[in-house]
C-alpha cells in the first residue's frame, strides 16, 4: 500500500447519517474477487431506482470524479465487511469526512489507505452546506490534520498511529514481525501458566 500525506481533489456531499456498510456494498456483490474491482458496487442500491437506473440527482452520480466524500455521523456502521472500503477505494475515493465512523470501518479504511477524517458536527454541516449544490475542490494535509475548501479551513482528528500508517503506507504484518520474540515468549508463558486455554485442554489426561 502506497503512503500519502496530501490530497487535493473534488469533494462531494452525501448528507446522510448512519451510512452502513450494507449500503456501501450490498451483500450480494461480495462473492467477487477483489481483482474484479469493487468500484461499480459502491452505494449500488442507494444510487439507483428500483428498476436499476441511476438516479440523476444522487451526489455520486452527479459527480463521478469525486475523490472525497463528506457525510453525516456514524459513517460505515454495521458489518465488518472490508469490501465496503474496497468499493470506496476502487471508485477513486481517498478520504471520507464525517463527525463519526463505525469503528471497524475506520480501521479497515486506514488499512487500505483511505482516510476517515473526523470533524465536528458543525464543520461537517458547514462543508455539506457548501457542497450541496455542486462538488468543489478540497485539500487534505495529513501531517497538519487540516482540510481546506475555498476559504474554509478546518481541523480533523485521527489516531496518531493511523496517521503514521497512512503516511508511510505501512503494513501491520511487517511491523508485527519485529515482535516475534515477544510473541513467542507470550505463547510459551501461556502454555506453561494457562494451558487450559488451548482447545481440548486436559482431554489426553482426563
Amino acid at each position: 500500500m502506497a503512503g500519502w500525506s496530501e490530497h487535493a481533489g473534488q469533494a462531494v456531499a452525501l448528507p446522510l447519517q448512519n451510512v452502513d456498510t450494507d449500503q456501501l456494498i450490498p451483500a450480494r456483490f461480495m462473492t467477487h474477487s477483489r481483482s474484479d474491482g469493487y468500484g461499480r458496487f459502491l452505494l449500488h442500491d442507494l444510487r439507483r431506482d428500483a428498476g436499476g437506473n441511476e438516479l440523476a440527482e444522487f451526489p455520486l452520480n452527479r459527480h463521478p470524479n469525486a475523490s472525497v466524500v463528506v457525510a453525516g455521523h456514524n459513517f460505515g456502521c454495521g458489518s465488518s465487511r472490508e469490501a465496503a472500503v474496497y468499493a470506496l477505494v476502487d471508485a477513486g475515493i481517498r478520504a471520507v469526512i464525517a463527525p463519526s465512523f463505525g469503528e471497524i470501518f475506520a480501521g479497515n479504511a486506514v488499512n487500505n489507505g483511505l482516510l476517515p477524517a473526523q470533524v465536528s458536527e458543525d464543520d461537517a454541516a458547514a462543508l455539506i452546506d457548501r457542497l450541496k449544490e455542486a462538488s468543489g475542490p478540497l485539500r487534505i494535509q495529513l501531517e497538519t490534520g487540516r482540510i481546506s475548501q475555498g476559504d474554509l479551513d478546518l481541523g480533523f482528528t485521527l489516531e496518531p498511529s493511523w496517521r503514521t500508517k497512512l503516511i508511510n503506507g505501512w503494513d501491520d504484518i511487517d511491523l508485527t514481525l519485529h515482535h516475534l520474540p515477544e510473541i513467542a515468549r507470550h505463547r510459551a508463558n501461556q502454555m506453561h501458566d494457562n494451558s487450559w486455554v488451548r482447545p481440548k485442554a486436559g482431554q489426553s489426561w482426563p
Binding site: Q17, Q23, C77, G78, E159
Partner: protein, 468 residues
C-alpha cells in the same frame, strides 16, 4: 495494593504482548474463527507467501452462504464457489472446518460457544462484527476486517487501541414477554447507534445475572449496533455450567485450573468506569424497530415518531426512514401488517429463542408465511427432539437448516422488494434482507406474535396462561 481494575483491564493485560507509545497494543488471539468471507484474507496471506501461524487455534465455519435447504445441488454457482474456496483454504492450512454436512455446523457465533471453543478469559476474533457475542462468557471478543483477519492468520496477534470502559447496569425484574433482545433495542434506542462508540460495554446488574447464557449472548451480540465493538459479562455459575463438558472445553485438572482463573474475571467494586449507564429493567417493554437503523426502535405500545417533533438534523433521517418503511408518523406501530416472519440468526437462533417463539405459536396458526432457521445443526436437532419443529410446521412456517439465512440474505433467503418482515435478526438496514426489503427487528416471541396476528403485535396478551 494495586488499584481497582475493571474486567476489561484484566482481560486486556492478560493478552497484551507489546504496548506502543501511540496507544496501540499487540494482543494475543486465543481463538480465530473464519467463515466464507475470509477469502480476501487468505488471498492476502497467499500473496505474502505467509503460513498460518496457529492452525490449532483457527476454526472455519460455513454459515453466511449456507443453503438452508440442504437437499439437491446448490443452484447458484457463486455460492458453490464461496463454499469451495473456504474448504480449500481450510484444507491447505490444516484448519478444522465445520462444513455444511457436519452435525456441528452452524452460525459461527452459535457454534463457538456450543463447542466450548468460547471460554471465559479468552481473546476471540472473527471477521464479523457480531463477534461481540462471545463477550457473554467474559471474553474479549471483537469483529475485525479482512486485513486484520490476514494479520491474525499470519501472526495470531492483533493490534488494537484499548477502548474506554462503560458499565451498563440493568437492575430490576424484566416483565413477562421481555427478553434480552428488548433490553438491547431499548438501550440502543436511548443512546443511539453511536452511543457506545469507543467503549467496551460491561453489562452488569441483577437483570443481567438472571439472564441465561443464551440471553447474555443476544445482549452482547447487539453491542455493535450501539457502536461498541465489544460487550462483556463477568463469568459466574451460569457461565461455568454452560461451558462444562462441551467438545473443546477443558477437562480434568485443566478444568479445575480454568475455573480458578475465571474466578478472577470481574470488575473490582471500586473500579472506575469511563461511563456508567443505568436502566431499570421494569421500564423495558417488548420493543420493535420502526426505521432503518437499530436505534429507531420503540415499545410496541408506542406511536411511530413524527419528524416534525425531531431535532433539526434528525428530522430528515426520520422522514427518510418512514418513507422507505412506508409508515405514517404518529400512528401506533402495533397493528402494522407484515408479509412474512423470520426466526433465526446469531442474535436469536438459539434453543431458548426457538422455545420462546414456539411457546407463542403452539396450537396457533401463522397468518403469514415465514422461515425458522435454527442457529446450528445441534440446535436444530435439539429443537426436533423437543418437538418445536412440529409447532412451527403446524403453525404453517417453514422449518429449515441452519445458517445466517435471511438475516443477511447471502444464501438466497431473501425478503422480496417492498415486503415487510418481522424478524428476530440484528439489522434493519435498507436492503439488508434483500433489495427493497422492509425489516422490523424484535424478539423471537414478538416475531411469533406477529405471525399469529399477521401484524406487529404486543406478545404479552398472547402469553396469558402459557409458560414462555
Amino acid at each position: 495494593m494495586s488499584p481497582p481494575r475493571t474486567l476489561l483491564d484484566r482481560l486486556w493485560s492478560a493478552h497484551e504482548i507489546v504496548s506502543h507509545a501511540d496507544g496501540k497494543s499487540l494482543l494475543w488471539v486465543d481463538r480465530h474463527l473464519v467463515h466464507e468471507g475470509s477469502h480476501h484474507a487468505f488471498a492476502k496471506l497467499k500473496a505474502r507467501g505467509a503460513k498460518l501461524a496457529e492452525p490449532e487455534l483457527t476454526f472455519a465455519v460455513v454459515d453466511h452462504y449456507a443453503p438452508t435447504r440442504r437437499h439437491g445441488q446448490i443452484a447458484d454457482p457463486r455460492i458453490t464457489r464461496m463454499l469451495q474456496t473456504l474448504r480449500r483454504n481450510a484444507e491447505d492450512h490444516g484448519i478444522r472446518l465445520f462444513d455444511l454436512d457436519d452435525r456441528e455446523q452452524g452460525i459461527v457465533h452459535v457454534i463457538g460457544p456450543e463447542q466450548g471453543l468460547t471460554l471465559p478469559g479468552l481473546l476471540i476474533n472473527c471477521g464479523d462484527s457480531h463477534t461481540s457475542t462471545h463477550g457473554a462468557f467474559g471474553a474479549l471478543a471483537f469483529g475485525i476486517g479482512a486485513t486484520e483477519v490476514a494479520h491474525v492468520l499470519a501472526t495470531q496477534t492483533i493490534w488494537q487501541m484499548k477502548p474506554a470502559a462503560m458499565r451498563l447496569q440493568i437492575d430490576g425484574a424484566l416483565g413477562p414477554g421481555v427478553s434480552a433482545k428488548d433490553i438491547a433495542l431499548n438501550w440502543i434506542s436511548r443512546l443511539g447507534t453511536g452511543g457506545a462508540k469507543g467503549h467496551a460495554i460491561e453489562y452488569a446488574g441483577n437483570a443481567i445475572r438472571n439472564l441465561s447464557m443464551e440471553g447474555r449472548m443476544t445482549l452482547c451480540n447487539l453491542s455493535i449496533e450501539g457502536g461498541a465493538r465489544m460487550g462483556m459479562i463477568a463469568p459466574d455459575e451460569t457461565t461455568a455450567s454452560y461451558v462444562k463438558g462441551r467438545a473443546f472445553s477443558p477437562r480434568g485438572s485443566a478444568w479445575d485450573r480454568a475455573v480458578e482463573a475465571w474466578a478472577q474475571l470481574h470488575s473490582d467494586n471500586e473500579a472506575e468506569f469511563d461511563r456508567d449507564v443505568r436502566i431499570d429493567g421494569a421500564d423495558i417493554a417488548p420493543t420493535v424497530t420502526w426505521g432503518t437503523s437499530p436505534e429507531q426502535a420503540l415499545p410496541v405500545t408506542a406511536n411511530i415518531p413524527d419528524p416534525a417533533s425531531e431535532a433539526h438534523g434528525n428530522a430528515q433521517a426520520v422522514r427518510d426512514a418512514l418513507d422507505y418503511m412506508g409508515l405514517s408518523a404518529g400512528r401506533p406501530i402495533e397493528g402494522t401488517p407484515v408479509d412474512q416472519v423470520f426466526v433465526g440468526s446469531c442474535t436469536n437462533g438459539r434453543i431458548e429463542d426457538l422455545r420462546a417463539a414456539a411457546a407463542v405459536l403452539a396450537g396457533r396458526k401463522s397468518k403469514v408465511p415465514g422461515l425458522v432457521s435454527p442457529g446450528s445443526s445441534l440446535v436444530k436437532a435439539q429443537a426436533e427432539q423437543e418437538g418445536l419443529d412440529q409447532v412451527f410446521i403446524q403453525a404453517g412456517l417453514e422449518w429449515v437448516a441452519s445458517g445466517c439465512s435471511m438475516c443477511v440474505g447471502m444464501n438466497g433467503d431473501l425478503v422480496a422488494p417492498g415486503k415487510r418482515c418481522a424478524s428476530s435478526t440484528n439489522r434493519n438496514f435498507r436492503g439488508r434482507q434483500g433489495p427493497g426489503a422492509l425489516t422490523h427487528l424484535m424478539s423471537p416471541a414478538m416475531v411469533a406474535a406477529a405471525a399469529v396476528t399477521g401484524t406487529i403485535t404486543d406478545v404479552r396478551p398472547l402469553l396469558t396462561g402459557r409458560t414462555a
